[in-house]
Amino acid sequence: MTDTRLIRNFSIVAHVDHGKSTLADRLLELTLTVEKRQMKEQLLDDMELERERGITIKARAVAMRYKAADGQTYLFNLIDTPGHVDFNYEVQKSLQACEGALLLVDASQGVEAQTVVNALLAEQAQLAVVPVLNKIDLPHARPEQVATEVEDALCIPAEDAIAISAKTGVNCEQVLEAIVALVPPPVGNPDNKLQALIFDAAYDDYRGVVIYMRVKEGTIRKGDSVRTVAAGKAYEVLEIGRLAPRMVAENVLHAGEVGYLICNIKQLEDVKIGDTVTHEKEALRAPALAGFKDPKPMVFCGFYPTNTADFDDLRKSLEKLRINDSSFSFEPETSDALGFGFRCGFLGLLHMEVIQQRLEREQDMDLVQTAPNVTYRVVLTDGTEKEVRSPSEMPDPARIESYREPIVEVRIVVPTEHIGAVMKLATDRRGIYEKTDYYGSQRVMLTFAMPFSEIIFDFHDRLKSATRGFATMDYELRGFEDADLVKVRILVSTNEVDALSFLCHRTVADTRGRKILQKLRTEIPRHLFEVALQAAVGGKIIARENIRALSKNVTAKCYGGDITRKRKLLEKQKKGKKRMKQVGNVEIPQAAFLSVLSTGDD
């Protein structure tokens, strides 16, 4: 058994692109855990998509042995955390498995929204936070200023910061020493009742679900009968071990250690992140560790196969994706315009985007994706409350007493010269200003309370363009508040296109309805007859647009040399047509559905 005094469990937290994976690689290399030439670049991000987007979606853990300056050999467990707001709960659980965190900040970019959020999460988890300033090899790096920003933002003394370049390796050795010196060893008694925190899980084709856990109290052995407290399921421990970084089986893991657990679990959904593993025997059972939640999908959209015959393939693809991501949900849904598809729920917008891209890329699916919406609540006249996740679930207006919508706390970090632009954007989106925090003289963090529905449209893009790319944001769900909502229906030549109808605040129904019609007008090709586009609330038409009938459609000149080219032109138009959906006698291209997704102020 490893002496717990020689164990250090830590995470690296950072804003996206601040170099988390590069630092992890460097640490693995310095501790000779992985040889440089064996290393795929950035070992911890193992999904193609993650690498491409520069974000880490699923956490992993890796053990390293480090011979420190004091002559002792330490066991380091690096627990990777997902780097995005949609996965905050998972980040919290990963942090809960640690005693310390390296707060990595890009020395040229400075403190960003996620830096603040992650640092606050680390503080909440009562971790020792070690500030590390990365990328000092860059010519425009300004480590001293950024250290001051860290101090202002997070009350971490500037002089504690270690300035490194994870890329070139400069000062990375100091990081290892700081981990030894500043991160406390785990506490916890191997003789207590077993409490192991599940901070991640993944599905392996051959071994079923692999649980990643931190033993907080007690001891777990191969062959033990264990149970998951929240899920209430009993298992036999088939294998436990460390991640070095490949799985290395052990017979026993003690309090303070981090490792994996395999116990013949067939479905990832049976395992809840944040759940506690304890012993099955009544007398040995320990209570759950604090803070378990079952995160609920907050953003919903419909996925429809472009080709209706692909419905079953889509179902299979979704099932396959769910094997490795139990945080998204799906159920069959029917749309008059789109046929058979699925209503899918996601933790957030990025999560939605990632799933959609995986479907298209890994599963080779051609999809129509409907406008995303948040979960609303309606209070019915009989006093009950109902969750509405899709405009089609909206009860009869006569039965609705009032509506409630989710409110998020949005934090935006931005250079001071862009404060005005951010204020305007946020208040235009019904944001309520709450406070300003100053980081140095040039950067501030603005906090707003905003309806979640206002940021799922294109808020992030608009924020970026309003601030020339400088603003970063993060958000967190705060609760539900009363709201004056309406369902806006979109009609194409009097046929309702349910896939395009949406719920929104009454004050923006006109504008949003009109914008959707304007987009549709440019995306729906002209027909041989006039096409009327209408937006309606209840029976009232709130916006109207017309697509003129084609007046003429025949090639003027068509001689020997023109035939191939002109025919190909017509065939190209036909290819676009393949992705069209017929609504009444109007053909709506997929692009029209997609364009509605990006409805903004343009």
């Binding site: 041989l528 007046s551 459609n553 025949v554 090639t555 003027a556 035939i563 017509l570």
Partner: protein, 378 residues
């Protein structure tokens, strides 16, 4: 087996018109033109067209852009490979700025009997807008020169749908053209072709497209007015007067075979369609080395050919003879494209009369919509 027709492309112009997407170059280098004529000789020798093809058409570019001496040697080259005197229809395109009495006579004496003159408009401002290198009066002079040389079948090319143009203005153009007593008229709706200067200007907002409803009225009015004056619309843009239809062009819409020579010229042989290299230099080099100068080629399946036959065929007023297509290609459009046929007839765009599919009065402006219904069903 019917013999292929012959098309000869002369890719030179005095100016590249803003609307034009044909393969033409502004070349002022005598050596290039000499090389063109020599290479043409070689290409004709290599492809060996029938000595008496059903029709011959010399187009461009501007065939008459060649100076008299080179024009003469160009005609001599043609005559060494084809017995122009025995061909039923021999057409040459001529532009007013470069045609003169001498060249008209040279062409007639070489065996040309039909001339197609690029008039486009009789309005000075419109001609300038189109980048034309001639004025309205030059069209009349060109026609007179051709008549004096002996041409009895003269066609004029005109354009409508120019930005700001009205039906009334277009009618004046038509009247001016008719006053020259042409034997055939081609009236083209101005098209914003990809890659042209005009399209670029349009996209960047410097040139507005004309009102579409007015364009449609011009399109329909053209047929009405010309009909009243003894010109029958036998195709979307073509009107037969005393000279009858252009048999060479009709051959294209009937999917006939043809041999095209010269830079960028297309050939068709039973579903194979090839296009020569477009640049004069590249084309000449290939020919000089004894290589086929084909740049791009495609081979259509019978089903594709049948769809294309309908698309091209409905352009003709007589419609497309579906039975003849079935016999020729072994694919009966009535069975193979049953759905498309039903759709276009149900929409009232086309009509089956006997063996033929014909555009209705309503469907006339929507020939491509009808054609596409078949093309997309391949």
């Amino acid at each position: 087996m019917a013999l292929p027709s012959l098309y000869v492309h002369v890719p030179f112009c005095v100016v590249k018109c803003g609307y034009c997407d044909f393969n033409s170059y502004v070349v002022d280098d005598a050596a290039v033109m000499d090389r063109f004529v020599r290479a043409l000789d070689l290409e004709l020798a290599a492809v060996a067209p029938p000595s008496v093809p059903p029709t011959v058409f010399v187009g461009g570019g501007t065939p008459t852009y060649l100076d008299a001496a080179r024009f003469e040697s160009f005609l001599a080259v043609l005559r060494t490979h084809v017995e122009l005197d025995r061909v039923a229809e021999v057409t040459i395109e001529a532009n007013p700025e470069s045609l003169d009495r001498t060249k008209a006579q040279l062409a007639f004496d070489a065996g040309f009997r039909r001339a197609s003159v690029g008039a486009q408009s009789f309005d000075a401002a419109r001609l300038r807008f189109l980048d034309r290198a001639h004025d309205a009066a030059a069209v009349g002079r060109a026609v007179a020169d051709l008549r004096a040389a002996g041409f009895e079948n003269i066609s004029l090319d005109l354009m409508f749908g120019l930005p700001g143009q009205t039906v009334a203005e277009w009618e004046r153009d038509l009247e001016t053209a008719l006053a020259l007593e042409p034997d055939h008229l081609s009236c083209y709706h101005l098209t914003f072709e990809p890659g042209t200067r005009l399209t670029r200007d349009h996209r960047q907002g410097r040139v507005a497209a004309n009102d579409e409803d007015e364009d449609k009225r011009m399109f329909l009015r053209t047929r009405e007015l010309l009909h009243a004056r003894g010109f029958e619309a036998y195709e979307v843009s073509n009107f037969a007067g005393p000279g009858g239809p252009c048999r060479h062009n009709d051959h294209y819409w009937l999917q006939g075979d043809y041999i095209g020579v010269g830079p960028g010229a297309s050939s068709h042989a039973g579903g194979w369609r090839g296009t020569n290299l477009k640049a004069v230099e590249a084309w000449a080099q290939a020919v000089e080395r004894g290589l086929p100068p084909t740049g791009e080629a495609e081979t259509l399946t019978r089903r594709q050919r049948a769809a294309e036959a309908v698309w091209l065929g409905v352009r003709r007023t007589a419609g497309v003879d579906l039975v003849a297509v079935a016999r020729r290609l072994g694919v009966d459009p009535r069975a193979a494209f049953e759905g498309a046929l039903r759709r276009v007839t149900a929409a009232g765009l086309a009509l089956c009369t006997g063996d033929s599919l014909v555009l209705t009065e309503e469907g006339l402006p929507f020939g491509d919509a009808v054609g596409t219904a078949f093309l997309e069903d391949v």
